[in-house]
């Protein structure tokens, strides 16, 4: 786990927030599941415990996790919240895609056509 790469452009605590959210979306972390303690998570990732504490506080602020006194930190049981996370993640990825395409001079329509063509070709390949 250690030596995992972190991007320079973003705080480490937020990159770990992103990873945990992705694990929830993929179903690797389930509703009501307990997260490792701050210290355990620090050891697993090779990251400073103060940074991990910030990750957990941010997840709590986002209402993705709940801290139960004396018991630890748990993934929310709110399924609606998890659906929302998934939608937000999708929007985020689309925003990056659209921004990159715009910078290359593609219009909205060209992007949509481009995607459709891409999927058609992909389906064709899969049928072979």
């Amino acid at each position: 786990m250690m030596g995992e790469e972190f991007q320079a452009s973003k705080p480490i605590y937020m990159q770990i927030v992103d990873r945990i959210v992705q694990q929830i979306i993929r179903g690797e972390l389930l509703p009501e599941e307990k997260l490792p303690s701050v210290r355990e998570m620090a050891i697993q990732t090779g990251v400073n415990p103060n940074t991990i504490q910030r990750t957990y506080s941010e997840l709590e602020r986002m209402e993705v996790v709940e801290t139960k006194r004396g018991q630890g930190t748990f993934i929310t049981e709110d399924e609606q919240m998890i659906k929302q996370l998934k939608v937000n993640m999708q929007i985020g990825i689309i925003e990056v895609f659209v921004k990159n395409m715009k910078e290359l001079g593609f219009s909205d329509k060209e992007m949509v056509t481009g995607l459709e063509t891409y999927f058609e070709r992909k389906r064709g390949e899969d049928d072979d």
């Binding site: 972190f6 452009s9 480490i12 090779g46 103060n50």
Partner: protein, 230 residues
């Protein structure tokens, strides 16, 4: 808890320091960075009471540093300080006689954490295992200041990993402050709260690792490359 007040240290050579003012807080892990000869080791020696300022004051736990500070400071040197004919367990007993805050229980725990055999002779240990043993000895003490001079130097990634994990497992973040002097910042950046950078004996910056990313979009390596390229 550690303070440098206008500290200057003159040596014949170039490893001195000029007019350093810094203060370090409890419960944090600091990286002390800079090229060789920038004054990293001198800084650690001044905190450990192994050298004294030519001008100014070094204060640790509210006291001006003198010889007695050794009971409150763990200092892991870059060089091996082992008796080669000793067994691992002899080194542990020797340390126990030297430091009243040395905990045998913690040492036992750390030995098994690091997979070190107590009956093994030190001269038969690999370089990596000697590096691990140094960490065992350092982390078995409860002193409030832990100074590590180049703890990763020349060690392979597996050993570095076990050192990082032992620090995260055994440091008491409520009571201890850790300062790691290193020129190999690469893999340990996520371990650090703050960084202090030195160049040719001068203080050139102190910042929070996460703030640097948040405000400037830079990792410590990026910042070092920018700052030291001239």
């Amino acid at each position: 808890m550690i303070e440098f007040q206008s500290v200057t240290k003159n040596y014949g050579g170039d490893e001195g320091l000029s007019n350093i003012n810094i203060s370090l807080e409890k419960g944090k892990i600091y990286g002390l960075l800079g090229p060789n000869g920038s004054g990293k080791s001198t800084t650690l020696k001044l905190i450990a009471g192994l050298a004294y300022p030519s001008k100014g004051k070094v204060i640790v736990n509210g006291k001006t540093v003198n010889r007695k500070i050794a009971s409150e400071v763990v200092y892991l040197t870059e060089v091996d300080m082992f008796y080669p004919s000793f067994k691992v367990k002899d080194m542990i007993s020797y340390y126990q006689t030297q430091f009243s805050d040395f905990s045998l229980n913690k040492a036992d725990e750390l030995l098994s954490f690091m997979n070190l055999e107590p009956e093994r002779k030190i001269k038969h240990l690999s370089k990596g295992n000697r590096g691990r043993l140094k960490l065992v000895l350092a982390l078995s003490r409860t002193a409030s200041v832990v100074l590590l001079d180049e703890p990763f130097s020349g060690l392979d990634p597996m050993v570095r990993d076990s050192i990082v994990k032992s620090l995260l497992s055994y440091i008491d973040f409520n009571n201890q402050t850790v300062i790691i002097a290193t020129h190999e910042i690469d893999e340990i950046e996520p371990l650090l709260d703050e960084v202090i950078a030195l160049r040719e004996g001068e203080f050139i910056g102190k910042f929070n690792v996460e703030d640097l990313r948040e405000k400037e979009g830079l990792s410590i390596i990026d910042w070092m490359k920018q700052t030291f390229k001239e």
